[in-house]
């Protein structure tokens, strides 16, 4: 690929990403400002429930990882625990409820369902392990 083509393709990918990024940022800030006080009642610090809630929230959203990192960073600033945010970021790009029809169409029903179910479970395990290892090292 030539440099010109590469710049053009990257700019196109970037341009395509921007409406979603701006929309998600607007939405997250509106939700944060509205429900800031409720977060602490939802996320209690429990390893299982916090990661489960984070993973569920990430599963119903779908997109490129960078958006979830920015949302996650913002939620971290709001005081939401890292465990829930990690689970959220993990499922954001590995569990695609919205993309399930597309995946089943190309790769088959069984593959898509098994893969997404496993990814959901793995997201919780990885988020718990990430926090344990961060505290360990």
């Amino acid at each position: 690929m030539t440099l010109k083509k590469s710049i053009k393709q990257s700019l196109n990918n970037f341009k395509a990403m921007l409406p979603i990024l701006i929309g998600v940022l607007l939405l997250v800030n509106l939700l944060n400002n509205s429900f800031q006080d409720i977060y602490f009642k939802i996320f209690t610090g429990n390893y299982i429930t916090d990661s489960l809630i984070g993973a569920l929230a990430g599963s119903i959203s779908f997109g490129i990882p960078i958006t979830s990192y920015i949302i996650g960073g913002e939620l971290l600033d709001q005081g939401i625990n890292l465990l829930a945010i990690t689970a959220f970021m993990m499922t954001w790009s590995t569990v695609g409820v919205a993309m399930l029809p597309l995946e089943t169409n190309f790769l088959g029903n069984k593959f898509a369902i098994v893969r997404n179910a496993l990814n959901f479970v793995f997201a919780i395990i990885i988020s718990i392990l990430t926090i344990i290892l961060i505290n360990f090292f």
């Binding site: 990257s10 979603i20 890292l82 790769l107 593959f111």
Partner: protein, 164 residues
């Protein structure tokens, strides 16, 4: 002349704008504080987005799906796993581009475990890691990325067990 069809992304942005209009009608303070926060956040991430774009250009210049596809077939099982992990990490693109490529590979004989390994490693994106480091630190990024790569192998093995 037919009107140009709006993409889902633009519909999403229009929906968010409408939600903001409703917020403005009911709570002016909420509207302005959320808008201001979004602007501040966006300005804060602009330098990181520029670096990300630079890395994306470099990755696109050096690595193409076609080039990688050539290297994925006719390897030993261990090498295939290794290459599919790499393939998952370095190839970027929306699902409607990625799924047809994977379908093509599947038709050429690539098994489900390798497709699952590839899809799981899409979570480790080199151009975006800088954003993760910025928000969560280098320790978090290394540990999380390492776990994703290791678990992608378990993921592949389990997908194979349940789907073959």
């Amino acid at each position: 002349m037919t009107p140009k069809k709006l993409s889902g992304k633009i519909y999403f942005l229009i929906t968010v704008t409408l939600i903001y209009l409703v917020a403005y009608l009911f709570n002016e303070n909420l509207f302005f504080s959320s808008l201001q926060k979004t602007l501040e956040m966006f300005l804060k991430i602009i330098p990181i987005l520029i670096v990300t774009l630079g890395i994306m250009i470099l990755v696109n210049l050096l690595i193409t799906p076609e080039r990688i596809r050539k290297h994925l077939l006719d390897k030993s099982k261990f090498k295939r796993y290794f290459y599919f992990i790499l393939f998952g990490i370095i190839v970027s693109g929306p699902p409607y581009i990625i799924f047809p490529i994977l379908k093509d590979l599947k038709d050429k004989g690539v098994s489900n475990d390798l497709l699952a390994v590839f899809l799981y490693n899409r979570n480790v994106k080199i151009p975006f890691l800088i954003v993760m480091i910025y928000y969560f630190g280098i320790k978090f990024t290394i540990i999380n990325s390492f776990l994703i790569i290791i678990f992608s192998i378990f993921n592949g093995l389990l997908v194979k067990k349940f789907t073959d």
